[in-house]
Amino acid sequence: MEQYLYLIPLLPLLAFVVNIFLGRSIIRDKAAWIAAPAVFVSWLLSLAVLRQLYQTGEPISQHLFRWIPSGDFNVDVTLYADQLTATMLIVVTTVGFLVHVYSTGYMKGDPGYYRFFSYLPLFVFSMLMLVLADNYLLLFVFWEAVGLCSYLLISFWFRRRAAGNAAKKAFIVNRVGDLGFGLGIMWMFWVFGTVNFQEVFAQVPEIAVGTLTGIALLLFLGACGKSAQFPLHVWLPDAMEGPTPVSALIHAATMVTAGIYMVARSHVIFQAAPNALAVVAIIGAFTAFMAATIGMVQNDIKRVVAYSTLSQLGYMALALGVGAWIPAIFHLMTHAFFKALLFLGAGSVIHGMHEEQNIQKMGGLRKYMPITFWTFLIASLANAGIVPFAGFWSKDSIILSTWVAGNPVIGKVLTVVALITAFFSAFYMFRLVFLTFTGKPRFDVEHVHPHESPPAMTIPLILLAIPSIFIGFLDFPPEAGPFTKFLEPVFGSEGEAAPAEVASLYTVSDQPVAVAYEEGATGEGEHAAEAGGHHNISTALKIQVAVVSTIAALSGLILAWLMYVKGAISPIKMGARFPGLYSFFYDKWRWDEAYNAAFVQPCKNLAMFLWQIVDVRIIDGTVNGIAHGFGAVSQRLRHVQTGLVANYALAIALGMVVLIGVYFGLYSNLFR
């Protein structure tokens, strides 16, 4: 497989090149026939990579060329595939291919059809390169490339002002994170002298904790931007202005998980920096909670799903923060399938409802679009975390890992937050399902005739519904299933930091994380003993946690049923009872307004100042002043040219006299 690794990203790249250059003139509505097969072959090759890794367990790498050869700073373009990469490859190519298929139906007849099928494989290429990169700089390049694709695809319908603004917002907010990421890479190079993953990780034990914490926090700032964690989460809901397949692929299943992937990839650095990990956990839990509260009151079908994405990404970050790397990646994978399914289902609804997105104007769609309903229901069950759907298993292992995390304050408090969020998740998912598909139609039945989507769209829904149901069993029993075993070589015992990880994160211990880490660095033996704690999570505890989280999810479901099907509790009355809270949630916690007042307006004022005062008055004034000065001097000097030949001769004679006078005074020996 080593020698064919490059084909995985190359094929989508070729599809992009062909479609972008020939799409407008020649290929046109056949563009999907270039893009989809390319991604499909990449998928097959990714399966081969997975198979080889499953059999041998040895990471695959392929050196392509040296990109930056400059003295001490050498960057290679080397593709590197270990178990983590293979998981990501499968997620990206599977969802990528199904979204391609779905888009052939969804984008049919769009004037930018070829453009869509150029950007989409370009994104797949960039994302594949991102996960295949073997060093931070290459990862960063494609980190930016996926950002670019996201920008291009959010603003795909660029004639819509909202789409253009959303694309700009996504790009600019991501700049903040990328600045941190870039600084982190620079600092890393300064400290380690390399940006290669393996070389950096090997040196981690020699570096001071403070330095590692700084680097880790900067890297996480980058992850916050890409994976839409608080405080950089504001771009993701707006990104729903893009076509729905784009939301499914980029803003749910793959690109937004790049930050999770990057932190997981850097786990060696993070687990050596416990304070940074604590930040990650708190940010993740807060994002999950906040997004869930917002998602409960939104009325736009895509926005609800978008906030649920934010919330689930928060779960993943929480898992990372408590050192539960494998559950984080597991949730990443399950989420990719059921969230893509949710988005594609939402797209199908929007398609069938003729571009209507407000769920208050839907209802009773079950009988009009049965396939969409059933697949959407499966995805919702998965997202809500109901046994035995995919989301249950991964969310459950995150909550379990949080409960047993080394730091009791963080661990226990965040577990409670995660459980409340699980309750909210189930509520907003089923509020969505009930409002959309059940009850009486609230749209104009006379004029709107909902219809089931074409097979090109429903088949991907069905294909995605299968993993949404079953993929959770990949890691059964939880924390010890085949998925955990498969990924363990990546996260298990790498470098000398591993004991510290195990000690600080998996031991049911009352020690603060930092203390645990300190001891991890000093006393090896003690932790070798504690390391066993990982496997000592009792089955009883697992079942307890599973039961509690199921109760939380089910009560959310039941509440939604009571409010929107049974009508026992009036949602309007609920809203009226807590008007402040309701509008606070409805207005998305007013982050946009706060950012506008705190950053955007001051920046605008500064820009106005720089433009009108510094640029126009000072710089232009200086330049124009000099120009006017020269002009004035020129106007005066031109009068020297009198036209009288006597004056000219006088000038020559005077010039001669002056020269001779000066020279004789300065240089001759007459006056010495």
């Binding site: 020269f630 020129s634 000097l637 020297v640 040219q641 001769a649 020559i652 010039g655 004789f664 001759s668």
Partner: protein, 517 residues
Amino acid sequence: MIVDDLSVLPLPDWSLMLPQLVVFGLAILLLAGDAFLPKSSHYKVLTTLSIVGYGLAMAALWTQDGKNAPTFWWLFRADGLGVFLSLVILLASLITVFVSASYVDRLEGRMPIGEFYVLLAFSTLGALLVASAGDLVMIFVGIELASLSTYVLTAFAKRRETAVEGAMKYFLLGIFASAILVYGMAWIYGATGSTNLDVISYALANANASSSILGEPSLLLALLLVVVGLGFKMAAVPFHFWTPDAYDGAATPVSGWMSVVPKAAAFAATLRILVQALGPMADDWMNLIAVLALVTMAFGNIVALSQRNVKRMLAYSSIAHTGYMMVGLAVAGGIAGFNMDATGDEGISSLLFYLFAYAIMNLGAFAVIGWVQHRGRGIMLDDYAGLASTEPLAAAAMTVFLVSLMGIPPTIGFYAKYRLILAAIQAGNVGLILAIGIVLLSAVSAYYYLRLVATMYFSEPSQTPRETKTPLLNVGIAGLAIATILGGFLFAVPVYNLADRWSRALEIFAHIPGRFF
């Protein structure tokens, strides 16, 4: 020159001055043709003859290349410096034939083309003799030969008052300057006892050792008088006053020619006298030239800003370019001296290359002015309004020349200015100041060059062009435009390397017979 015994003097080697003889023969043939051929055939025959003659002379230059030998008792020398300068002069004359033929023949009341070519050939010959002179007397004779013909050429459009006025001013001031120059030469002879450049240099170098002559007021006076005289010829401030009036008055192709060939002759004389003969006094004249260079480029560029007559604007621009070229001279002094060998002194090489580049781009700009005049437009800035929409190719060519004069890549003007600035920077603090001066004043110059470009491209056309055919002129402009662009990268380096051979000029020194002293 002190010669005891004429019988031991070697006979002159005529073959060494083949190019000069070709031009001389051309002048005689043109005279004869003008006298004996029927008037109707003058245009065709004499134009062809001139083109062939200058072409042959350029080809004959290769017989001089690498010779480095004196003849005519050290009055004349075939050396690298002379070859390069001759190349520039002959090229300029050849191009002038291309761009002036139709103008002289058709505009300003049909001037007599035979006389025009004869004067052109004699003036060229004078410049060539200066370029290859080995003696002060030869330099003076050459300069006068070139100047006298140029005075007449300036007045050639004699029905126009400004032409006569400009020529008159040029002539009066010219003889004034010549008198100063020859007075300076007399002082040099008085101080060193010779008019031979190499002997002067030898005498000064020995004096340098014993420090008896240097610092001597007579020598300083000689130096200053020579600089004033030459400064007039090359149009350095404050001896430049004739330039705008003469350029404005002369027929346009003559203006272009005047801005190149007499200037090249003046720089040739300056190099011969200051570097070759007075090289040992370089410390004395270096700062003088530097100050003059700075004043010249500042004055030329600044006054050009307020000109609305395109020919006057280019006249001031040519003053500014004189200032740039004097920088090459000023920084050459640092390493100059009679014992200078082919070390990395770039000052004079860059000056020579600049002269070459300047010849191409400046002749091109004047050629376009002539071309536009053929189509019934004037020479004021407003006459160029909207030229790009009625005459796109002419506007494009003019833009190329102006961009090159500004010194913007990829044109030959950029490379020339680049070498000049490079040479200046390598030459220490004075050079650095001069380099900064070139850069800043080039920025000033961009304003008036670009104003013309903007007028051509962004103003509404005010005139409808007159239909006319000027095939020779078209060929000339096209060739110059192509050379201006290609010269920026294609043949810039070979030509520069040729210019770099200037240093061979002084190799002959070692062979001068002892009895000369």
